[in-house]
């Protein structure tokens, strides 16, 4: 208010006495009531009434229709069957509900009174007499309970009430922070000598079977019991790798002995940005693209980041082959897979 007042007194005419009365808008009051067509023309009112009735009747038909549709068009398990059932239920329910809605609003707008009435606000506090009676009643209650005299009782009550929330809070917080062992982010299921198995069918893969340009999505070759355990899904989520067979001449990054085998390289499939599975591999450019934020890694060059928000290259899994020619892991990843976290140190 003061903002609008200050400039008006400054730029207004020198004679400020008039302005003092006009710096607030006058209450325009309730606008003049204009009769609607339905107020003046009985024919129009009858027509409106008819429309509202028709809308309600439509809604009744829709309700009946939805019941008929529910029993007559059952989803029989086939795609067209499910679709027909959903469609008929949806259409009839829409008619049923929209009929009521449109009718109610049309009724209110065209036939019910549209005069505006002013109802002044009541004062919020109760009258002083009522408040005095209430205070007296409260004081009487405190005295009757004798809480001020019986100190031990008061302490016991407060103590029990204060302690009770622990019975709920401790288990709740304890289950939320289920596992505070952050060191498991550093390790995956991969061990020296563990075979690589195809995802999802779990077959070990021979190095000789891969042709240049091949890509295989791999996971640790573990027993069926492990795969059926509850922890498998999170262990698999950490351990999945992408196996790429390149022409050995195309590999530009320095490969230490035992890190790749005959042009076959294995990199973690978990993006170092926010952990999406990176799997869009272009065999012509050897680029691996993350579908979430377009981080691009160069598989031929140590999975270095060539584009996008990722900060680190994908960790490489050292691989070789066993006596039978199957691909095996030489070790776990040398660094934690996936995105950064507080305890990761970098």
């Amino acid at each position: 208010m003061s903002d609008s007042k200050t400039p008006s007194t400054e730029i207004g005419p020198v004679d400020g006495s008039e302005l003092a009365t006009t710096d607030r808008f006058a209450d325009p009051g309730v606008p003049e009531h204009k009769p609607r067509l339905t107020d003046t023309d009985p024919k129009a009112a009858a027509r409106s009434e008819r429309i509202v009735t028709i809308l309600f009747v439509l809604s009744v038909l829709g309700t009946i229709g939805s019941l008929v549709a529910y029993f007559a068009v059952r989803p029989d398990g086939t795609v067209p069957g499910v679709r027909a059932s959903t469609l008929w239920l949806g259409v009839t329910l829409a008619i049923s509900l929209l009929g009521i809605g449109f009718a109610a609003i049309h009724w209110a707008k065209s036939l019910m009174s549209n005069r505006e009435y002013v109802d002044e606000r009541h004062p919020i506090p109760s009258s002083p007499e009522v408040r005095e009676v209430a205070v007296v009643a409260l004081q009487q209650g405190v005295e009757d309970s004798g809480i001020a005299r019986r100190g031990v009782l008061k302490g016991a009550m407060l103590g029990s009430l204060a302690l009770f929330p622990l019975a709920v809070a401790v288990p709740l917080i304890s289950s939320v922070g289920d596992d505070w062992n952050v060191s498991k982010f550093r390790h995956t299921l991969w061990r020296k000598g563990m075979r690589l198995a195809t995802d999802p069918d779990g077959r070990p893969l021979k190095a000789a079977d891969l042709t240049v340009g091949s890509v295989a999505h791999m996971m640790p070759d573990v027993s069926t019991e492990v795969r059926e355990s509850g922890e498998w899904i999170s262990e698999k989520a950490k351990a999945v790798i992408l196996l790429v067979k390149l022409d050995p001449e195309d590999i530009r990054s320095e490969q230490r002995p035992g890190s790749s085998y005959d042009g076959i390289v294995a990199y973690s499939k978990i993006c170092t940005h926010v952990g999406c599975p990176v799997a869009l591999y272009d065999q012509q450019t050897h680029h691996l693209l993350c579908p979430c934020h377009q981080s691009t890694f160069d598989v031929a060059d140590g999975a270095k980041v060539v584009f996008g928000p990722a900060k680190r290259p994908l960790p490489q899994l050292p691989i070789s082959v066993d006596d039978e020619g199957y691909l095996i892991a030489e070790d776990d990843f040398a660094e934690p897979i996936g995105p950064s976290y507080w305890e990761r140190l970098r």
């Binding site: 609607r36 067509l37 339905t38 795609v79 067209p80 499910v82 679709r83 959903t86 469609l87 609003i105 707008k109 065209s110 549209n114 195809t198 995802d199 999802p200 069918d201 077959r203 893969l205 021979k206 079977d209 891969l210 042709t211 240049v212 340009g213 091949s214 890509v215 295989a216 999505h217 790429v244 599975p277 799997a279 869009l280 591999y281 272009d282 065999q283 012509q284 450019t285 680029h287 693209l289 579908p291 377009q294 691009t296 584009f307």
Partner: protein, 259 residues
């Protein structure tokens, strides 16, 4: 000879002669007629036709004897499957250079494609064109196919095979209208930017399962119009544009005074 001559009036002589004549004709026919097994493999004539077609249509980029040049890869050892995929989908011969060869109406008819495939297959061993049995979706398991598709294909080709964009102007094409044979061949040979999924990575049965899963998608979605199967982009567009317009319209109608 004398004994033979003496028996030439024997009453069994005509029958023996007839049998001998039939055997002779049958033997000669068997020796010269092409057997069905031979017809399936490429004849030298096919390879010759293919070579001529190759030199007229492909040699500019792939080199006169398909050994590859700076702008196009060698075709020695890519196999008949790669040629059949590239030529029958119209990707090759390429009309113009670009990030990747787009599918277009095929330039070669079936015989010409077969001849070209026979010629390239004769240059070096590679994946053969799959048989009808190998790509028969009715023999595949769509549920197994979905698991394989989700892990190996869905990141580029979309969860239902609707296709998607890649980087550098490349794109994974929609698989909705791709023939079963071409889907198999693409996995087998890895055309363009697509990596190779040979039978060691995805077994031949697995490939058939994937084809079965994709065939299942033709039946449509139980949830009504899938809006191209493109997911939140298409659905969001409709929800915002259409849904919001209807809501604003409703609010205006409710708030407007009746005349």
């Amino acid at each position: 000879m004398k004994a033979l001559a003496a028996r030439r009036h024997h009453r069994a002589a005509p029958v023996v002669l007839l049998l001998m004549a039939l055997l002779a004709v049958g033997g000669v026919y068997a020796a010269f007629a092409p057997s069905p097994a031979q017809a399936a493999t490429a004849s030298t004539a096919d390879i010759e036709t293919g070579k001529k077609l190759f030199q007229a249509n492909c040699a500019t980029c792939h080199g006169p004897s398909a050994e590859g040049t700076d702008i196009a890869p060698s075709l020695v050892g890519v196999g008949a499957a790669a040629v059949d995929f590239q030529v029958s989908t119209g990707r090759m011969p390429m009309a113009m250079d670009g990030p990747q060869a787009p599918a277009k109406p095929p330039q070669m008819n079936e015989e010409q494609t077969a001849a070209l495939a026979a010629y390239v297959a004769s240059l070096g061993a590679g994946p053969a064109i799959p048989t009808d049995d190998q790509v028969d979706p009715t023999q595949g398991d769509a549920a197994e196919g979905m698991a394989l598709f989700r892990t190996n294909c869905a990141m580029c080709h979309n969860a239902v095979g609707a296709g998607g964009a890649l980087s550098s102007g490349k794109a994974a094409p929609s698989l909705m209208n791709t023939s079963d044979r071409n889907i198999f061949q693409a996995m087998e040979t890895g055309p363009g930017p697509m990596p190779v999924f040979n039978d060691a990575v995805i077994t031949a049965e697995g490939k058939r399962d994937i084809i079965a899963f994709l065939t299942e998608q033709d039946k449509g979605s139980a949830g009504g119009n899938p809006l191209g199967g493109l997911g939140p982009v298409a659905e969001g567009l409709w929800a915002w544009v259409l849904g919001l317009a209807v809501m604003i319209g409703g609010a205006v109608w409710i708030g407007a005074k009746s005349s």
